[in-house]
Symmetry: C2
Subunit: 702 residues, 2 copies
C-alpha cells in the first residue's frame, strides 16, 4: 500500500512538529507515488522539509531559509497558503539523447510570510525520479532588491553513503573525482599533490554540485542544481559528523555578498535525483525539465556537430598558441615548449582538407588571434583582440577555402578570464564571425577572473555565461564554453549553447598525471548531469613519448575505449581530438568516429555502476542506426548485452570495435579488434573490456 | 648668482650621499633656473630626489621606488645613464583659458638597473613653475607584465605648511575642504558629521591629490598628478610627524594588487606645482603640458557650451528622476520626496523654449530613461537601459523640436556605478545618441562600483573613464563625467572630455549642510588644477525654503557671487543651473549669464589667496570682450582692480554686477547692484564684495 510506504514519514512528522505546527505540514506525492516531499514549520516558524523515496528516507528533515544583509528569512514564518497543481507535458528538445521528453510532476506552492510581513514562496516539484524546489521572492512593498548573504538549505542524509565528488573550488571544476563515504569528505589533498594551476579551494569540507551518492541498499541520490540564473553556483558544505550538506553560495568580490537580486526573483532549483540504480540517474531528465523552455524562436541554424582542430598539437608540444612560438604551454604544464605557431594558414588548410575528406562539420582553430604571447597568469585586463588575426593566419583565404570545401571554421575566443574586456568586444567579435560565415565559437576562461575578486562560480560570472548564450543566439552562433561554471540544464533554454567543458577534460592526459581510468565512468553521474561536455575524445596516439622520448604522460584508456566515449559521454558537439596523421594511420579504427552521430532519437542505459562501468545504446537522430558504447575503469570486465532495443524483424550490420587481445590501458593500449556480424533483436553480444578499456559498436540498419 | 641660489642643495647632497654615491648625483635646472631637481642613489642603491625652488627647498630628499608582487624596485640600483634634453614648444588647445600654451622644460632621463638587471627609468621634467617625474619600465627580457603592490614615492616637506585637502576617499571627492597644518591632517571627522552617502574613507592620514600648501614665506606648493592612465589614482599618506607625504595607490578588488601593467609601461606624472604666490598656481599649465597631445584628428565638432536642464528641480524636491515619481531623492538626502517626473515631454519642451530664447546651446535631461525606480544603494548590476525612454518622454518629438529650435538635448547616462553594464551598452547607447542628433553626454557613477571591490579611484575605473573618452570621441560625442576620479589633464588628449564633476558641486547646497563660502575659493587650487569642473553655478533662488517652508538649506553665496563663478571657476561647459522661472524673474541679473562665454583666448589672475578670494579676468575666444569675476569667502572684501589688461586706446562698456547694499550670503543674499560705465585701460574699479559675495563684470568691446 502506498500510504504504508510513507508510514515512516508520518511518524517522523509527528515527532518533529508540535501539534500547532502540524497545521502547517503539507505532503506532496509524485504522480507515480515514488517520491514524497513533506514540508512544514516548527514552533519557531523555521522551515523544514523531508524527501521519501520508495519507502525510504532519501533526505531527512532539513532546514530551508535565507539570510540577507538587511534581514533574515530564517524563522518566524507563517503559512499563507499551499496550493497543489499537477503537471504533465511532453516536449521536444532541439537536440539531445531522446526525441522527446515527458515533464510530469506535482507541484506545491508553499507561501510564507515572516513576522515583518516579508513574503517568500517555496515551490516544490515532486517527480517519480526525484524532487526539485526553489525559493521565490515576490514583488512586495518596501523590498525592491535584496543582498543575499547566506542560503540555509540543508540536505540531511540518512547514513554514511558512498559519495563521488570534487572539491568546492570557486574557480575550477577540472579535478579528479574522489570516492569516499560522506564522513570522510576532505579536500586537503586537492591543495597538495592534486593541485591544478587555476584552482581556489579554501574550505576543506566543501564540494561542488552535482554530487552523486549510493546508499547501502543501492538507491542512488544526486544533489544538483537546475537553471542557474542570476545567482552564485550551489556548492555544499559537508557536516561530516551529522552527514549533512548545507548550501554554500560563491560570493562576489565583497565576500559578504553572495548575490544581489531584484524582486521579483527566484533562485535556481535545488534538485535531488533519485533512482533505485545507477542507470536511472543517467536516464533522468529532471534537470532539463526544471529549466525554462527554449527562448530561440527559429532554431533551424542550430546543428550538433563533429569537429577536428588545431588544438591537440599544442597540448602534446608540437605547436604553440602564440605566433612568436614561445611559451604558452607554461600555463598548463609549467614547462616551456617551443615550437611552431599552430594556427598558420597552411596548417589550418591541412585540417580543412582532412575535415572535408572525412565528413567533419567543423575545424577549430586555437591561437589564431593576437594576445597569446602574454596571456596566462598575469591577471591583467585587455589581453586578447577578438578581431585581429596573427599575421600568418589568412582569415580571408581560409574562410573562402573552408566554404569551398563545405567545412566551417570554429571560432575561438579565449578570454584569459578578463571578462569585461570580452564583454566590451563581444558584439564586434560576433559580427566579425558573421562576416566570415562562422557559426560556432569555443570560449575560454582560463585563470583568475577579472573583475578581480569575482569567481568562475559566482553570480557575476553566471550572468556573464547567460549573456554569452543570449548574445551568440542573437548572432545565430552556437557556443561551447570552456572553464565556465558547470552547467545546470540551461541548454534547454539556449540550445545554441551546445556544450561546456567545466570538468577535467582529455588534455590533462597530455601533460599531467591525467585522468584515471574511472574518470569517464564518473563524469556522467556528476558533471554531465547538468549538460553536455566537450571532453574531446578520440585520441589514438595515447602515449606522449611518441612526441618526445622524455615524456611519460599517457592517456589512461585503451584506444577502443576512446571510441566508446563518443557514445557514453553524451554531447551534441564531439571532437576527434587527435592529429590527422594519427587517424590516417588507422583508418579502419577511425571509421567508427566517422560513423558515430552526435544527435539521437533514443537512448538506453544498458548497465552502469558509478566509477566502474557504463554501457549505453543510442539510436541515431532521424535514422534506424544504433550505436553502442561500453567503458570500464581500471578493471577488465565482461558483459553480455542483449540487443533488445533493436526493432523486431530487422537485421543490422554490426561493426564491433573491441579491445584487442591482451589490451590494457597502461601496458598495451593500442590493439583494437574489429569484427563484423549481422545481428537482430534478441541477439546477445559478449563484450570483453580490457583494464581501462571499452567497446564501441555501430549497428547499421540495412 | 644662480649657483649660489642652489648652494643649500649642494650642501645637502654632500651630506646625504657618500663619495661613491655622489657619482650617481645629477641636477636638472629649469630653463629659467627657477627650479632645480637633484636625484641620486645612496650607498644601498636607493633612489632619492630633491626639489629646490627659488633658493628654498620645496621638496627635501625623498625616496623613489616601487614594490611589485614578484620583486622589489627599492634598492640595489645602479645608474646606467642620465641624458638631459631641453624642450620648448608652443601648442594650441582646442579650448581653454588661453589661446596657446608654452611647454618649456629641461628633461632628465635617469636610467637605472637593479642587481637582478631589471631596468627602470625615471624621467624628470624641470619647469620654471614646478617639476614632474614619472617611472618608466621598458620592455625587457623575462618581464612582460608586473603587478604593482606599492609605490614608494615620497614628498618630504620642509616645514609644517598650511594645507588645503580632502580625505583619501577611495570612492568620492565630494567633500568640503579642510585647512590645517600638515601635522594636523586627520580625516576622522569625514567619517562623522561630514560623512556623505557614497564615501569610503579608511585611512585617517590619507589625502587626495591635488593638495595645495602655503609655506611660511608665501611660496605655494601643490602636489598633483598628470595623465592618469592605466593606473590607480595618486593619493598621499601623510606622516604628520615627519611632515612627509608618501604615494598611496588605490587597490583593485584584490587589496594586494594596486595595478597590473604590461611592459613597456610608464606611470602617470607625479607633479609639484610651485609659485611665489597663489595666483601662480592658478596660472600654471604644468599638468596640461605633461599630458599627451590631442588624439582626435578632426576636432571641428567639439564646442564649449552653456546649458540649462531638468536637474535642479529634482534637487530642490519639485520633481523626481523616476517615472513613478517616488523616492529617488532618498539617495542624496535620506529624505523621500514625492513629486512629478521631471523628464516629461512637456517640461522638457519648456526648457528647450527657454534655451532657444536665451541663447543656450544645450538642454540636459536627467531621468529620461528607465531604471531610476531602484537605482541607488543596492549595489546591483543591470540597472539602467540607455536606449529606453520612460513612456512620458517622447524622444522622437523632442529631438525634432530641439533641432527646429537650434538647441541640442544633452544625453544623460547615470550608471549607478554598475560599470560593466554600461560598457556592454556603450556602443549601442552612443549610436542611439547619434541617431537622435545628440552630441554631448553627461555620465554619472553614483554609488559603490560594480565590479564589486573596485573603486572610483582605482586602475580599473581609470581605464574605464579613458575608454569612455575614447569611445565617445569615436562617436563624435562630448562627455562630462560626474563622480569619476578627479581629472589629471587628460582633456588635452581627449578634448571631447569637456569636464568632470569629481568634487563637491552646487547640489550639496540644496539638501545638505552645503558648501561653505570658502569652497569655491579652494576648488581652483586643488581639484580644478587637473581639469574643468561642471560645478553648475547660477542659482538665483538661494534659499530652499522658497520650495518648502520646512527646508533650511541655503546656497552659501550671494546671487552676485553666483554670477562671478562663471569666470572664476573655469570650464568650457557651464550650466545655468536654476529653474527657468527663477531666471525670468530677474532677467537683468540673468543678462550676465547670457553674455559670459565659455571659451577664452586669455586669462589673468588679478589676485588670489587660497580659501579667501579669487579675482580673474578673461578675454572671450575670438573677440575683444573681457569678463571679470571676483569672489570671496565668508569675509567681505574690497578690491581695487586696475584694468591694465585692456588694450590701450579702446573704450569698453562695463556692466558691473555687484553685491547690493548690505548683501550677505546668509542674511541678505539676493540684492545685486547693476551699474554701467565706460572704461579703458588703466581705469581702476573698486569692487566691494559682501560676506560670501562676489562681483561679475562684463567689459564689452565697442
Amino acid at each position: 500500500m502506498l500510504l504504508n510506504r510513507f508510514g515512516l514519514a508520518i511518524l517522523t512528522l509527528a515527532f518533529t512538529f508540535s501539534l500547532s505546527a502540524q497545521r502547517t505540514l503539507r505532503t506532496l506525492y509524485s504522480p507515480g507515488k515514488q517520491t514524497m516531499i513533506a514540508v512544514g514549520l516548527n514552533k519557531s516558524g523555521e522551515i523544514f522539509y523531508q524527501i521519501i523515496y520508495r519507502n525510504r528516507v532519501a533526505v531527512d528533515w532539513s532546514r530551508l531559509g535565507f539570510e540577507t544583509r538587511s534581514f533574515d528569512l530564517r524563522e518566524g514564518f507563517k503559512l499563507l497558503g499551499a496550493a497543489e497543481l499537477p503537471h504533465d507535458e511532453t516536449w521536444k528538445p532541439v537536440w539531445g539523447e531522446v526525441a522527446q521528453i515527458r515533464n510530469r510532476y506535482n507541484e506545491l506552492e508553499y507561501s510564507l510570510a515572516d513576522e515583518a510581513g516579508r513574503r517568500m514562496t517555496i515551490r516544490f516539484r515532486a517527480y517519480d525520479e526525484g524532487a526539485g524546489f526553489r525559493y521565490e521572492f515576490p514583488k512586495q512593498d518596501g523590498l525592491s532588491a535584496m543582498t543575499v548573504t547566506d542560503e540555509l538549505t540543508e540536505f540531511q542524509m540518512t547514513a554514511d553513503h558512498t559519495a563521488w565528488w570534487i572539491p568546492g573550488d570557486y574557480d575550477s571544476n577540472e579535478h579528479v573525482y574522489t570516492t569516499c563515504p560522506i564522513s570522510k569528505i576532505d579536500c586537503t589533498h586537492y591543495n597538495k599533490e592534486y593541485a591544478i594551476a587555476t584552482q581556489h579551494i579554501v574550505r576543506m569540507k566543501n564540494v561542488q554540485t552535482p554530487i552523486a551518492m549510493r546508499m547501502a541498499d543501492g538507491t542512488h541520490i544526486a544533489l544538483a542544481e537546475a537553471a542557474l540564473v542570476d545567482f552564485g553556483a550551489l556548492h555544499l558544505e559537508t557536516d561530516v559528523e551529522k552527514l549533512k550538506f548545507k548550501a554554500f553560495l560563491i560570493a562576489s568580490a565583497d565576500s559578504t555578498v553572495k548575490s544581489v537580486n531584484t524582486l521579483p526573483f527566484h533562485t535556481p532549483w535545488r534538485t535531488v535525483l533519485l533512482s533505485p540504480d545507477a542507470a536511472g540517474i543517467l536516464e533522468s531528465k529532471l534537470i532539463l525539465n526544471l529549466n525554462e523552455p527554449c527562448k530561440i524562436e527559429d532554431v533551424s541554424w542550430i546543428k550538433p556537430q563533429k569537429y577536428v582542430g588545431v588544438w591537440w598539437e599544442m597540448h602534446v608540444g608540437l605547436a604553440t598558441w602564440d605566433y612568436e612560438a614561445t611559451a604558452d604551454m607554461m600555463a598548463a604544464t609549467g614547462r616551456e615548449v617551443k615550437g611552431k605557431h599552430g594556427a598558420n594558414t597552411e596548417n589550418v588548410k591541412r585540417y580543412i582538407d582532412f575535415a572535408a575528406k572525412y565528413g567533419f562539420d567543423g575545424v577549430l582553430v586555437e591561437g589564431w588571434n593576437t594576445g597569446w604571447k602574454d596571456w596566462f597568469g598575469k591577471w591583467k585586463d585587455e589581453v586578447f583582440d577578438f578581431a585581429r588575426p596573427y599575421p600568418d593566419y589568412d582569415i580571408d583565404a581560409l574562410s573562402r577555402y573552408a566554404r569551398e570545401k563545405g567545412v566551417r571554421i570554429i571560432m575561438h575566443h579565449e578570454t584569459s578570464a578578463a571578462v569585461p574586456s570580452y564583454e566590451r568586444q563581444m558584439d564586434a567579435a560576433y559580427a566579425y564571425m558573421n562576416r566570415y560565415g562562422m557559426n560556432s565559437v569555443k570560449t575560454g576562461y582560463v585563470g583568475k577572473i577579472i573583475p578581480r575578486g569575482e569567481w568562475h562560480d559566482g553570480q557575476w560570472m553566471a550572468n556573464h555565461y547567460w549573456r554569452v548564450a543570449e548574445r551568440t543566439a542573437q548572432h545565430r552562433i552556437m557556443v561551447d564554453m570552456h572553464e565556465p561554471v558547470r552547467p545546470s540544464g540551461l541548454h534547454r533554454t539556449w540550445p545554441n549553447w551546445l556544450a561546456c567543458e567545466a570538468a577535467r577534460g582529455q588534455e590533462f592526459n597530455a601533460w599531467s598525471t591525467g585522468n584515471p581510468p574511472e574518470h569517464e565512468c564518473i563524469l556522467p553521474f556528476t558533471r554531465i548531469l547538468g549538460g553536455p561536455m566537450d571532453y574531446t575524445p578520440g585520441i589514438f596516439e595515447v602515449r606522449m613519448n611518441a612526441y618526445d622520448p622524455n615524456k611519460k604522460e599517457v592517456v589512461h584508456t585503451t584506444v577502443a575505449k576512446q571510441l566508446a566515449l563518443y557514445v557514453t559521454l553524451y554531447s551534441p558537439l564531439q571532437m576527434a581530438a587527435d592529429l590527422p596523421e594519427n587517424y590516417e594511420k588507422r583508418l579502419d579504427v577511425f571509421q567508427f568516429i566517422r560513423d558515430v552521430p552526435v544527435d539521437w532519437d533514443d537512448t538506453r542505459v544498458l548497465g552502469a555502476a558509478i566509477g566502474d562501468y557504463i554501457t549505453v545504446a543510442r539510436r541515431q537522430k532521424g535514422a534506424q542506426n544504433w550505436f553502442l558504447g561500453s567503458i570500464t575503469d581500471e578493471n577488465p570486465r565482461d558483459f553480455s548485452v542483449r540487443l533488445d532495443f533493436l526493432p523486431a524483424g530487422k537485421t543490422y550490420d554490426a561493426v564491433i570495435y573491441a579491445d584487442g587481445p591482451d589490451a590494457h590501458w597502461k601496458d598495451n593500449p593500442y590493439p583494437v579488434a574489429i569484427s563484423r556480424r549481422t545481428v537482430q533483436k534478441g541477439d546477445v553480444l559478449e563484450l570483453r573490456l580490457a583494464a581501462g578499456g571499452g567497446c564501441a559498436i555501430s549497428l547499421m540498419a540495412p
